[in-house]
Amino acid sequence: MSDTSRLNATYDRIVCALAGLCLSAETRIKSAPGDELVIRLPVENLRAAVAVLVNQLGVTHLTTITGEDLTPELTLKYHFWQERGFTLEVELPGEAPVVATIVDLVPGAALYEREVYGMFGIAVEGHPDLQPLLLPDGWEGPPPLRKEGDRD
């Protein structure tokens, strides 16, 4: 349901810059002044895509990283902001998920990556201080936002 006519200039620029890296681009997430752009990427292209955003387009603001358990796979959404919000989405396997860090490109991602690690058990490769952000000391049991485990 890609509606190209609704992409404004910002979205056009982002989609053009990431054209070679992404699987698909669509305005999917509902938001206030029109729907927000979601760019789906293969997980190995994530760092390259963020590097393009930061170095070529001057994107600086990462709002947050949302993890989601869509059993059997996991997704990570990187919510950026430049004039408008847009989202990079990667898909990870449910078993032993690993994603590369973007802390060196966007230092503000440090706490969000730690949170994703704690809440979903997604290992963030290359993070300088990877430990759960919010979980209590000696937390046993599955990561709290994963759907398997003790959910009743």
Binding site: I29, S31, H61, G85, L111
Partner: protein
């Protein structure tokens, strides 16, 4: 030089919030610091997935007691986007009115905490006395001083009567006078300036790198305000300034917040004067169609972000909350480096930490 490690928190006279710090000192100067969060982590995001869309309004209102209304409002907006309904204009105005009142109360509260931490108990008492006026108005509007429970999916549930309107306008005049006076005191109080100028420095580049939002970012010269950058009713019909400073220290943050308070008082007046007549809410169905929605708004501490995904049932499949304190926490080691031990509490209160928000 002797090296000392000083643990601060989660319960400490310096720090009102439950957060644990290890401060490494060399003589009087801080060389390094580490932080442990999670003391008030309740697992709200998971709890949201176990409760219905309507129950969640009350839950997200209790993410934070200081900015409770803006949490509920942002969540409701996200669900309304999923449902594809528009709130009536009067409801949007009433929501914005409470938002601005909350900003006034939060900023005055913050000024009090800062003043207490630098030893100016008089300013603490005055700021908190004036804050009561804002709480009175909110109580008249909603029935609650701190948590309001006015938001429902599709609108609001409490109205302003014409008599109340006159009364609130009168109280706003009082508030305006008091905040102006307080700003004058703060601007001329030399002991406050000597404690806050040059303390907790953050450059514009650092603010950009760490994705900082809200008054902390605006005090370093980053021009970002969700009310203006992503305008919704009624902010697209109102004109207001976004105060900015470039010094990037606690003093600049004080000025930004106090000027914002004045602007908020002015906005409250405009909102009350221009509030259209009409219904307060539209009927919303119980089941939410599948989809995803993002809602952003400007909380007193900066950009608040909600992501809600529905799978078609009456409970959300995922609710993600990003509160504005989180990126500010990331900058604390940078801000603390090099300050003296006595200034640690000034730095910590300067960013206006809300750990209940950050931990969720």
């Amino acid at each position: 030089m002797t090296k000392t490690v000083i643990p601060i928190g989660p319960q400490h006279p310096l720090l009102k919030e439950p957060l644990a710090f290890q401060i490494m000192l060399e003589g009087e100067r801080v060389t390094d610091s580490t932080m442990r969060m999670g003391y008030v982590h309740r697992g709200i995001e998971r709890l949201c997935q176990e409760r219905t869309f309507i129950q969640n309004i009350h839950l997200v209102e209790r993410v934070c007691g200081i900015c409770s209304h803006v949490h509920a409002m942002t969540y409701c907006r996200a669900v309304e986007l999923l449902l594809g309904i528009n709130v009536p204009p009067r409801a949007a105005y009433l929501r914005a009115l409470l938002c601005e009142l909350e900003r006034i109360h939060s900023h005055l509260l913050w000024l009090g905490v800062l003043a207490r931490n630098v030893g100016l108990d008089t300013i603490f008492m005055y700021a908190w006395r004036d804050r009561e006026v804002a709480l009175d108005i909110m109580e008249a509007l909603s029935g609650g001083r701190v948590s309001h429970a006015v938001n429902i999916i599709g609108g609001v549930r409490s109205d302003v009567t014409p008599e109340q309107r006159e009364e609130i306008l009168e109280q706003l005049t009082t508030l305006d006078r008091q905040v102006n006076w307080l700003l004058g005191v703060v601007e001329h109080e030399r002991s406050l300036q000597t404690r806050t100028k040059g303390v907790g420095l953050l450059s514009l580049q650092q603010v950009r790198r760490y994705c900082v939002v809200g008054p902390v970012a605006r005090a370093s010269g980053l021009d970002a305000d969700m009310r203006r950058d992503e305008p919704r009713t009624p902010y697209d019909r109102l004109s207001f300034n976004v105060p900015m400073h470039t010094a990037g220290d606690v003093w600049a943050r004080t000025l930004v917040r106090m000027q914002e308070t004045l602007i908020s008082v002015e906005l409250c007046r405009d909102i009350l004067k221009e509030m259209p007549e009409g219904p307060l809410a539209v009927r919303a169905p119980r089941r939410v169609p599948p989809g995803e929605a993002i809602s952003r708004s400007e909380a007193p501490r900066g950009e608040l972000f909600y992501y809600v995904r529905s799978d078609g049932s009456d409970t959300p499949a995922r609710v993600k909350i990003r509160t504005p304190t989180l990126p500010s926490l990331l900058t604390l080691p940078q801000q603390l480096k090099g300050v003296t031990m006595a200034d640690v509490s000034v730095v910590l209160s300067g960013v206006d930490l809300c750990i209940a928000c950050a931990d969720r």
